[in-house]
């Protein structure tokens, strides 16, 4: 077993997901199967090998610091599930 029931609970919580009781067994089985498969990477010696994050050479891109028009406020809010007075509205975050 690569991943335990407790690991799944932790990773689901990190992912802001809830695993339903009836799904638990299958999720555990599938994730273990996949994580067992990817173990084949451990057989490779990667000492002194640099990691690659982008396949092609990347460099930081700069632009002039100029004020330009941006997305209209109303348009930016147009897909919000809940809004008020030009803001996104969410449930209370801090205790009163």
């Amino acid at each position: 077993m690569k991943i335990s029931e407790q690991d799944i609970k932790t990773v689901a919580s990190l992912s802001r997901l809830r695993i339903r009781e009836e799904e638990k067994e299958d999720v555990l089985f599938q994730l273990n199967k996949i994580l067992t498969y990817v173990e084949n990477l451990q057989t490779l010696d990667t000492t002194n090998i640099e990691p690659t994050t982008y396949a092609l050479p990347m460099q930081n891109v700069f632009r002039a610091d100029e004020v330009k028009p941006s997305l209209d406020r109303e348009l930016a809010l147009s897909n919000a599930p809940l809004k008020e007075d030009g803001y996104f509205k969410v449930p209370r975050v801090l205790e009163a």
């Binding site: 991943i3 690991d7 799944i8 932790t10 990773v11 689901a12 990190l14 992912s15 802001r16 997901l17 809830r18 999720v27 599938q30 994730l31 199967k33 996949i34 994580l35 498969y37 990817v38 173990e39 084949n40 990477l41 451990q42 490779l44 990667t46 090998i49 640099e50 990691p51 690659t52 994050t53 982008y54 396949a55 092609l56 990347m58 930081n60 891109v61 632009r63 997305l71 209209d72 348009l75 930016a76 147009s78 897909n79 919000a80 599930p81 809940l82 996104f88 969410v90 449930p91 209370r92 975050v93």
Partner: protein, 477 residues
């Protein structure tokens, strides 16, 4: 031949010569959609009214005696993870069911500038995660060659639309084979350009270091025309390359004399269907008979590509999909506090495969596992890329099967995610190395399902791929 089965370049000539009108062509496509869509299910949204109005504008332009762009007036489909301002863009996810983008993706904007006719938004595996389009949050898409089979994925709707006569060409996206595999399954030409050739601005992010927009077309000439339209640097995507974009139609030259084409031993191993192998070896013979030199090569780290991909892509996906939190856009499911609201939203609105990949990704990135999984995969990525760099010192192109087998039956792999992942063995190495690749049809198997071969090129050398693909196409099977 019906209008909806013709190529864009044939239709362009007919439009310009006033032998047909854009209105007629668009009506023919919608007639075909009305007949076939119940069976195929290529689309999530149809834009009939806009298409009809756009076609009229093209006809007015032609009537004024003006010259039209190569793709002007040509009906096309756009994968539904590419943002289209004012047109619903769902990523086939319940979480974006009602999302209306406030801006256009650059690739779509460039097509729109040519006055193409967008017919609708094409189905996909939710957030482009899958190889069969069965993971769509809304409905499956079926293969136009056999309705019991999948069209491939994740760009299954884009591939099926073209193969089924419901669009003349389409845009898709390819993170691990999501253009090339469905193109192979549906018998059309599917091109994934070099990473950075096409702007990703407005392409809903799945795995940002691997994602690339590309095309589905009936033939290689149309492929060059679509690439001409969508490639190019974009200041809105800092990973888009500043490299000059050639006129890709100049590569439509029927001549492979002197080209060295590599056949990697690791792509012809156990697990590759015998009919697929025979078809691709016949393609190699064809190239040889046309004057190319076929060279046996080795890409020794191929067997590690699936593991590398299925750690890197989920890790990037887990990060990219953090944004679906029920706050600024997308669906929200209420909860007692912010965390519960986010958890309810994501649990209820994401499908099983998306959740699985988010969890693999967060696991691979989490403290204690980062070095063993994510960092290890990034190092192996270096080795896989080096395989290609070494191979391309001796050859101009690499020829492989696109997929280990022809299209499989609906439901055949849904209960075994790992089995589905292994389907990507021939395509993922190309994304890992950021290279351009195409899938070109090469006949049918005994069950009358299309087969395809893949050509892989050097970074930014789409031209040699197009030249070889074109040469194969004009010389027949």
């Amino acid at each position: 031949m019906a209008l909806h089965d013709k190529t864009a370049h044939e239709l362009h000539d007919l439009l310009q010569a006033k032998k047909i009108s854009a209105a007629e062509l668009t009506a023919d496509i919608f007639k075909r959609i009305d007949e076939a869509e119940d069976k195929i299910g290529a689309y999530l949204t149809l834009t009939r009214d806009k298409a009809t109005a756009d076609a009229k504008a093209v006809d007015d332009k032609i009537a004024r005696g003006e010259k039209i762009f190569p793709l002007e007036g040509i009906p096309c489909a756009i994968k539904d993870n590419i943002c289209t301002k004012g047109i619903r863009t769902t990523c086939a996810s319940k979480i974006l069911e009602n999302f209306i983008p406030p801006y256009d993706a650059t690739a779509y904007k460039k097509l729109a500038a040519q006055n193409v006719i967008v017919v609708g938004k094409a189905n996909l595996d939710e957030f482009a995660m899958g190889g069969s389009t069965e993971n769509s949050g809304f409905h499956v898409t079926r293969n136009p060659h056999n309705y019991d089979c999948v069209p491939g994925g994740s760009s299954g709707g884009s591939a099926a639309a073209v193969a089924g006569g419901e669009a003349i060409f389409s845009l898709g996206s390819d993170t691990g084979g999501s253009i090339r595999q469905p193109a192979s399954f549906c018998g059309v030409v599917g091109f994934k350009p070099t990473y950075g050739r096409v702007s990703r601005y407005g392409l809903v992010a799945f795995a940002s270091s691997l994602d690339q927009i590309g095309s589905f077309t009936h033939d290689v000439t149309d492929c060059a025309l679509v690439l001409n339209a969508i490639c190019g640097h974009d200041e809105m995507d800092s990973t888009s390359t500043a490299a000059q974009v050639p006129d890709f139609t100049k590569s439509l030259v029927a001549d492979v004399k002197g080209l060295k084409i590599g056949l990697p031993a690791e792509y012809f191993v156990k697990g590759i269907d015998a009919e697929v192998e025979t078809a691709v070896r016949n393609v190699a013979k064809k190239f040889e008979s046309l004057g190319a030199e076929i060279v046996e090569i080795s890409l020794p780290h191929t067997e590690y590509a699936i593991s590398t991909y299925y750690l890197i892509a989920p890790a990037e996906a887990a990060t990219n999909l953090e944004r679906y939190d029920g706050v600024s856009y997308g669906a929200r499911v209420d909860g007692a506090d912010v965390v519960e609201m986010m958890t309810n939203t994501r649990t209820e609105k994401f499908g099983a495969e998306v959740k699985r990949r988010i969890m693999i990704g967060n696991y691979a990135l989490s403290a204690g596992y980062y070095d063993a999984y994510y960092l290890k995969a990034l190092k192996v990525r270096t080795l896989i890329q080096k395989d290609f760099i070494d191979a391309f010192k001796n050859v101009d192109l690499i020829l492989t099967p696109t997929t280990p087998n022809a299209a499989f039956k609906l439901g055949e792999m849904t209960s075994d995610p790992l089995k589905m992942y292994l389907q990507d063995i021939c395509t993922v190495p190309v994304n890992i190395a950021g290279l351009p690749g195409v899938s070109v049809p090469c006949g049918f198997n005994k069950s009358n399902l299309p087969l395809g071969f893949q050509l892989i090129g050097k970074a930014l050398d789409e031209e040699t791929i197009l030249r070889a693909a074109y040469t194969y196409e004009v010389n027949g099977l």
